[in-house]
Amino acid sequence: MIELAEISKNFGRVQALHRVSLKVNPGSIHGIIGENGAGKSTLMKILTGFIRKSGGDFFFHSENIDLNSPKDAREIGIGMLYQEPLDFPQLSVLDNFMAGGTDFSPGNQRTILAKLCNNFSFNLNPENKVEELTIGERQQLELMRLIRDGAKILILDEPTSGISEKQQELLFNALRSLKDDGAAILLVSHKLEEIELLCDEVTVLRHGKIAGYQKCPFDREKMLHAMFDILPVSQPPAIKHIAGEPLLNFHKISSKTGRSGLNSVSTTIRSGEVVGLAGVDGSGQSVFLKSAFGLLQPDSGSISHLLEVKTRAFIPADRLAEGLIPGLTIREHHILSKESGPIITSKSGLAKTRDAIKTYSIKGTPETEIENLSGGNLQRLLLSLISADIQLILMENPTRGLDVQSAAWTWKHLHSRLGAEEAIIFASPDLEEIMEQSTRILVFYNGSITLDTQTKATDYQQLSRAVTGEDSQKQ
């Protein structure tokens, strides 16, 4: 259906893609896998007409075509689901669904939306504002919009990052049925499981070049070898600290923020704990974390912080948009994150920044503006900004968008810095990550904590039941 022949792309002097060729056939799912910065996103943006290729050819049904704009791509039926949703947050779900279409009758579109929601078992209220949705829900909305517009070639960029297990299952079912209908699907991912589960063939990218190609059934070792120069280290086991003094106490906290808000949540977090917040995306985990940091004020109930504000740190899921300041350099971030005098010289924070760049292997110089860093480097920068006196680390999806190595590094670092006086609370849609990294698990369902357990006292089955709400009676 589509064929790329020796596609290259330069950004100034940086060569993002070098002679990449691949084919996607109708009724099949082609995986693109590679670590962060391998050139996957660039390839996808070329295919959708957002950026132009510097060299090579693109064939659609054996016809050589130039994609000069997103409109060109849309016209031949290419639809893309971006990792960061490209929607209009201030508008409602229905308005977003109508945008970009040709029929602006709210009545019709409401019916179509309801039907699509029903087909895929998605649960979206057409009147809700998109900014109130989770990334997973915004993605569902975009997918339905693409299908409504008759996309025949679907491109998905890391579709399962930041979404829950349940949403992932819904998405995979939708993709399989679309494939059976003859769609050609390109799945960009760095999750091997996902590729193995869904794809018919896979192309491995590394440093902007093709590093491998396989057809199903896949050889996992070979894939890993093509992705990385060295094999990724296995994830570390959770360190068991004895829970000590209370650091944070939620007493009957209710909030209307987010999809499900919080319904009278009470819990105590103690030092030494690594608490994993599990649950379907948007079940209250983010509201819990933001309230704990002080970014959100609850509507009722009381939060007692037994720590000063400056000993808490929050790392959001959307690192570039919510956690860091594009336009500022790495050094400027380090200056801001630490107490210092009013005057800044060219030497201020330089030694510490250099030190952090080395310790955290951030690919950049102190004067690198942070928007030029890739996902893994952004996360390492955020971690490097957490000063030694921070006692409570709050994280949304700590390994979202990271490759296996970066994710492993992140957790190794977090566990190693966790002292007996400190605690980590993190939300993750990945139950495996929760099981492997946390000492205690809180399961959120519809804004309530439905399960509060020590990790060693539970298992995967119980957790997945609680997450989907089957076990919600049991506390």
Partner: protein, 342 residues
């Protein structure tokens, strides 16, 4: 960014703007060269005329310094005009005081300080409307401009009217001893030049070499993330608006105490809007601002000669300034587009 790239950018902007204006002039049957010579002669070819350039440069640079603060904080301070007027009113208030017993120098200093406070309050009001009332600073500023303009007219025609009869030409002149000292053969007060240079150096230092300046930048670039660094974006924005207003007010104070020696209705001389263009053309950077201010001041001063020698309206300087800014924005835009790989 490398110096070569910056130089290339300046050359591109100049060529583009001059090209566009020349084309326009040729189409109108006027020689661009004659215009160029007239503008240059009218601005820098005589000491007196250069003095005139400086009287424009000073308030323009003060307003631009104020705008550097607000632009860095991510705010569009459209209310500079109103802030200049309020500063002028503040200074006039002090200089009209009777029997203070203060020496003239002290009273003049106090007048300038009051103008800073008055402009600052007007800026703070726009800031407050934004942070507390949810009124966009563009609309707040614009509204406050009209209010200030109304107030100054009311003062001139009402409470502060000239002895005998109210006049649109302004209030009575201040007593001679309250005129800022101007050396014989000069038209501009050395004190004002010293003041503006100090303000500019302080602006550069605060914005580029202090923690506060970095906080302004952070709050401007990403208010949400700035909160994670313990910054309060609303407070930072409010402070930037107050400082910006204060510096614009100072420009009003200078106009009253050093140039007109009275309050006139058009005391702001549209420097507030011109300063917006200056800072945009400077790419919101500190260093190019005084040079661009000088260029704009030369154009404004030189264009006064146009009707006299060539029978062309002096608004041509506005056309040239506009063309420069549009070319500037175009070149920035194109370079950004290119670096994003479009």
């Amino acid at each position: 960014m490398s110096i070569i790239l910056q130089l290339r950018r300046i050359v591109m902007i100049t060529v583009l703007a001059l090209g566009a204006v020349s084309l326009l002039l040729i189409l109108l049957g006027i020689s661009p060269l004659t215009i160029g010579i007239t503008l240059t002669k009218g601005s820098i070819f005589s000491w007196l005329k250069f003095n005139h350039v400086l009287t424009i440069w000073i308030p323009l640079l003060l307003c631009s310094c104020g705008l550097l603060f607000t632009f860095r904080a991510g705010l569009w301070n459209i209310g500079v005009e109103g802030q200049v007027i309020c500063g002028a009113i503040g200074a006039t208030l002090v200089l009209r005081l009777d029997n203070t017993g203060l020496p003239p120098a002290a009273l003049l200093s106090f007048a300038l300080f009051t103008s800073f406070l008055a402009g600052g309050l007007w800026g703070a009001l726009a800031g407050l409307l934004k942070t507390r009332g949810g009124v966009n600073e563009i609309f707040g500023g614009l509204g406050l401009n009209f209010v200030a303009q109304g107030v100054v007219l009311w003062l001139i025609l009402g409470p502060w009217k000239r002895a005998g009869m109210a006049s649109m030409s302004g209030t009575d002149l201040f007593p001679r001893e309250l005129w800022m000292w101007i050396p014989p053969g000069w038209r501009v007060a050395p004190a004002a030049i010293v003041l503006v240079v100090i303000v500019f150096l302080l602006t550069g230092m605060i914005l580029n070499a202090t923690r506060f300046g970095l906080k302004i930048k952070a709050a401007g670039f990403n208010p949400q993330a700035a909160r994670l660094f313990g910054i309060r974006p609303d407070l930072v924005g409010f402070t930037a608006m107050s400082i910006g207003g204060g510096l614009a007010g100072l420009a009003g104070g200078v106009q009253v105490s050093c140039v007109y020696h009275r309050l006139i209705p058009s005391i702001s001389s549209s420097y507030g809007y011109l300063a917006l263009l200056v800072v945009m053309l400077a790419g919101y950077k500190v260093t190019p601002v005084p040079i661009i201010c000088l260029l704009f001041a030369c154009l404004a001063a030189g264009s006064i000669q146009l009707p006299i020698t060539l029978q062309i309206d002096s608004s041509l300087s506005g056309v040239i300034q506009g063309a420069l800014v549009l070319s500037g924005l175009l070149v920035y835009g194109l370079q950004q587009r290119k670096s994003r790989g479009h």
